[in-house]
């Protein structure tokens, strides 16, 4: 056991696992968070620095080397199970010319690492890896220059290898001997001497994930596993429905239950703290029974959700426009819908917090330690610098799930039992009902073909909100909303950006001479939502790719060939061609009740390109669909860890199959009724495809393009198209349930 500077006693295992409990504070938060690039004398802005160096240019914010030559790399991004830890180590090891084992990586911690906002949007490679790569290269060159100075030889005569600078003659000098206090405390320069692809040792290799051995043998791997000395267990009691008021609660019986330390009530926020975890659960159940709520039946009729959403439209934004679309003759016209869906982490959200004289420390699987720090400080009325948020892994989140809310719960409860750490874990039904859902959407497409079988008019309308309601303030935290001094979330605004959110990928990459893409903006939604993997791209690409197949049928064309007709981007064409070829795409008829389908998109129109072909089998008697195989091709620019990309893409495809075949949040006019895996089923093993292939189109030397969310849209499209091909009917509504498929087939 050891004492760290937060005044906590932390178990040795926690420290060994790199939980961040051991603090090496070396630079102030402001330096990371609010660095403004210096303005040059002539008023021009300083040149853009690569990746997140732009925001955090000091090299020693990213890389530190101690006198023994031990290398620590810092990232503001968090491991979410996507394997970023391994890829960042690879990048640093490559440019620093050391073995990956030599690198210690510290991830998101407001006291230690740069502020890189959220680990989201498939941008960690683009921003953090780019920053670390350049910083590593620059550090290497600084070390070479320092060695050259000491040896009195030209830097060009020296090379870095295995953590040492090697001169042509004489003894190599270890990095540790070269560093002195301010050597790396310099700002990055715009230009780095990056290694050329032909010299790579580590980049491009499928290095095994560094986090897997501990995860498969029971090491401390998640915030759920954090055990601090004297730690208490808390459970929250959530209202039965979203807009409920706590009318009355008699806490006396609960307070006398075994092990109960405290019942916390603040407005509609209700929680119980106990010595042992199961005591907390028992007390939570009793407290839930003792609480009386006033509920509001203000949810729309689920069967008429699309109409309810469209009625919430307040504003229309133009996402893209070209030519002058007009519709006459044979017009393809369709409406597509997507329901609310859940992130559905297998491990319900969890956080540990302690409030003491040092301030408040929160361990959380949040995707953004800095924004969460701001939000929690705002909720509690504390100065930001008194709150520290440390990332520890949770179960996969796939976007903004309950993580930040659980962190806020823990923070609020911890302030009620100062001095003792508190661990809060949500119950399954709380995760299902209270995580912010993936947003429901409606899209409408109209399109016509010209005489040559090319699309000449295209209109795409989508009804959506912004999807992301991430902490940018306390108002997005459930606890802050439920407290007596309630904070409301900031209003959301329509804003058209390149990456988009609700409108993400609404503008197809296909060449369309006359098009109009409109976003019918809903500022508010009946149910609370936030960013879920791919945001609007999932429903938009599902709609676009379904339409492409219907248009191909109208044109009498093969769906793959039809897509290629409308693609000019060479990288797009290549993934389409590779996926089709590896799949063995053909127009040969398949056996009865089998079908094949294709889907393509470039995520956000600026990240990875992905094409996927699927074969499905449909059981007409039950409407049950099973994907038999999926074959995809992905171009994510230069690939650092091929197996990592393959793993993420396989996962994206399988998760999308689950979303698209099975998943919808259900609710009555008051409550969410999908509250566990029995009421919200997801993919189980018997329905898993026989094979899922991922073929990488590697682009060494090209910028990194985020890959983690690339599969969602195309896979949904391919699946819907394969079902269409198998049964001869189009299903426009997600999920493609057994019932919908059976009804579409008829007898």
């Amino acid at each position: 056991m050891r004492q760290d500077d937060t005044g906590l006693r932390v178990s040795r295992r926690a420290v060994l696992a790199g939980t961040g409990a051991l603090v090496l504070s070396f630079a102030s938060r402001d330096l990371f968070a609010q660095h403004v690039p210096p303005t040059l004398p002539n008023g021009a802005e300083a040149p853009q620095l690569p990746g997140s160096l732009q925001k955090t240019p000091l090299l020693d914010a990213w890389i530190r080397i101690d006198a023994e030559g031990r290398i620590t790399v810092f990232t503001g991004k968090a491991e979410l199970g996507q394997g970023i830890r391994t890829a960042l180590i690879q990048v640093a090891a490559e440019e620093l010319e050391v073995a990956p084992e030599e690198i210690e990586l510290v991830t998101a911690d407001t006291a230690r690492t740069p502020n890189e906002g959220f680990t989201a949007g498939s941008q960690s490679m683009q921003y953090s890896a780019t920053a670390i790569r350049h910083a590593s290269a620059q550090v290497r060159e600084i070390l070479i220059a320092e060695a050259a100075r000491r040896l009195g030889v030209p830097p060009g005569d020296l090379r870095a290898e295995g953590g040492r600078i090697v001169p042509p003659q004489g003894d190599p000098i270890g990095y540790g001997e070269l560093v002195f206090d301010q050597l790396l405390h310099v700002e990055a320069s715009p230009d780095s001497k990056l290694k050329q692809p032909d010299a790579y040792r580590v980049i491009g290799q499928s290095m095994p994930r560094v986090d897997i051995p501990a995860k498969v043998t029971g090491g401390v791997a998640y915030v759920h596993d954090l055990r601090l000395e004297g730690m208490l267990h808390a459970r929250v009691v959530r209202p039965p429905s979203q807009h409920s008021e706590l009318v009355d609660v008699d806490t006396s019986r609960v307070e006398s239950m075994p092990g109960v330390v405290k019942v916390v009530r603040d407005g509609d926020f209700l929680a119980v703290v106990a010595e042992r975890e199961f005591q907390a659960i028992e007390a939570m159940r009793a407290l839930a029974d003792a609480a009386q709520w006033r509920e509001k039946p203000n949810l729309p009729d689920q069967d008429r959700l699309p109409e309810a959403l469209q009625a919430l439209e307040r504003e229309v934004g133009t996402v893209a426009e070209a030519g002058s679309p007009s519709f006459s003759g044979q017009v393809f016209e369709a409406t597509f819908t997507r329901p609310y869906q859940i992130h559905g982490s297998i491990g319900p959200s969890c956080a540990v917090a302690v409030a003491n004289e040092e301030g408040l420390t929160v361990w959380s699987h949040t995707q953004g330690v800095y924004p969460d720090q701001d939000a929690i400080a705002e909720m509690l009325g504390m100065p930001v610098e008194r709150v520290r948020v440390i990332h520890m892994e949770g179960a996969g989140c796939y976007g903004h799930n309950g993580a930040d809310d659980a962190a806020a719960d823990a923070a609020l409860i911890a302030t009620a039992v100062p001095g003792r750490p508190v661990r809060v874990q949500w119950m399954r039904e709380q995760e299902h009902a209270w995580e912010p859902f993936g947003a429901a959407m409606v899209t409408k497409v109209r399109a016509t073909l010209d005489a040559n079988g090319r699309i000449d008019n295209w209109a795409f309308d989508l009804w959506s909100n912004v999807h992301s309601t991430r902490p940018g303030g306390a108002g997005s935290l459930i606890a802050a909303r439920h407290r007596a001094e309630s904070v409301t979330p900031p209003p959301s605004r329509l804003q058209i950006t390149q990456a988009g959110n609700g409108d993400r990928n609404a503008d197809p990459l296909y060449v369309l001479p006359n098009k109009r893409v409109l976003w019918h903006f809903l500022p508010d939604m009946p149910l609370r939502v936030s960013a879920m993997r791919a945001l609007g791209a999932y429903a938009n690409v599902f709609s676009i790719e379904s339409t492409m197949d219907e248009l191909a049928i109208m044109a009498g064309a093969d769906p793959v060939e039809f897509r290629l007709r409308h693609l000019e981007d060479e990288r797009a064409r290549e993934v389409v061609e590779v996926a089709a070829e590896r799949f063995g795409w053909s127009s040969e008829p398949l056996p009865a009740n089998r079908g094949r389908g294709f889907g393509f998109a470039r995520y956000k129109n600026l990240a990875a390109y992905l094409a996927v072909a699927m074969e499905v089998e449909v059981e007409p008697e039950t409407g049950r669909v099973r994907v038999v195989r999926a074959v995809s091709a992905i171009d994510g620019g230069e690939i650092v860890n091929p197996d990592g990309v393959i793993n993420q893409t396989e996962g994206g495809i399988l998760q999308t199959i689950s979303w698209t075949l099975y998943e919808a949040v259900t609710f009555d006019n008051t409550r969410v009724t999908s509250v566990d895996w029995s009421t919200y089923p997801i993919l189980r093993f018997r329905d898993v495809p026989d094979s899922v292939e991922v073929h990488i189109v590697n682009r060494p030397g090209q910028p990194y393009l985020g890959v983690a969310e690339a599969a969602q849209g195309p896979a949904a499209g391919a699946l819907a198209n394969a079902v269409r091909n198998a049964i001869g009917k189009r299903i426009y509504d997600i999920p493609l349930t057994r019932e919908r498929v059976r009804q579409a087939i008829g007898v």
Binding site: R13, L80, G81, Q82, G83, P208, R209, I212, P213, A214, K215, V216, T217, G218, V220, A221, Y222, H224, D225, R227, H233, R276, E277, F278, Q279, I281, G344, S345, I346, G347, P348, E393, G394, A395, G396, Y398, Q425, M427, R428, D643, N647, Q648, E650, G651, G652, I653, L654, Q655, D676, W677, S678, I682, L683, R684, F685, R686, V688, P689, S691, V692
Partner: protein
Amino acid sequence: MAITLRINGEAHEVDADPATPLLYVLRDDLQLNGAKYGCGLGQCGACTVMVDGEAVFSCVTPIMLLEDSEIVTLEGLGTIDNPGPVQAAFIEKQAAQCGYCIPGMIVRAQALLQKNPAPSDDEIRSALSPNLCRCGTHTRILAAVKRASELMQSNGAAAGRGEPA
């Protein structure tokens, strides 16, 4: 009330309410991280452990039922330095994304392979069907179980690590 539980070959005296589900005793009293809370309802399998060679949900199993049982958790199958064959197969196949469900998968696979050393693909799917994965690691998990079966067979009796004594 003290209850003696045999876990991974060792006897542990646990001072907990006999109604406490095994999961909380493993995690909180014995500091074993392998079994995870996922649903508390026996619907997802994240908490899977072996009891007398059978895969069970530790989240719905009160310890009062386990006094004469041999309990094996993920930790009983191997260590980070000396992983058991199923663990080794999961590492080899890189069969994890977030990894939260994986301990339950490994223990359930171990229970399957102890009874059926060479399961067919369908048998593996059926055996794993009580367990959920959200990251979409399914095909790797299936491959890892297949690989574990090979490893255990080629290692013969030496691969019996983790089997109840």
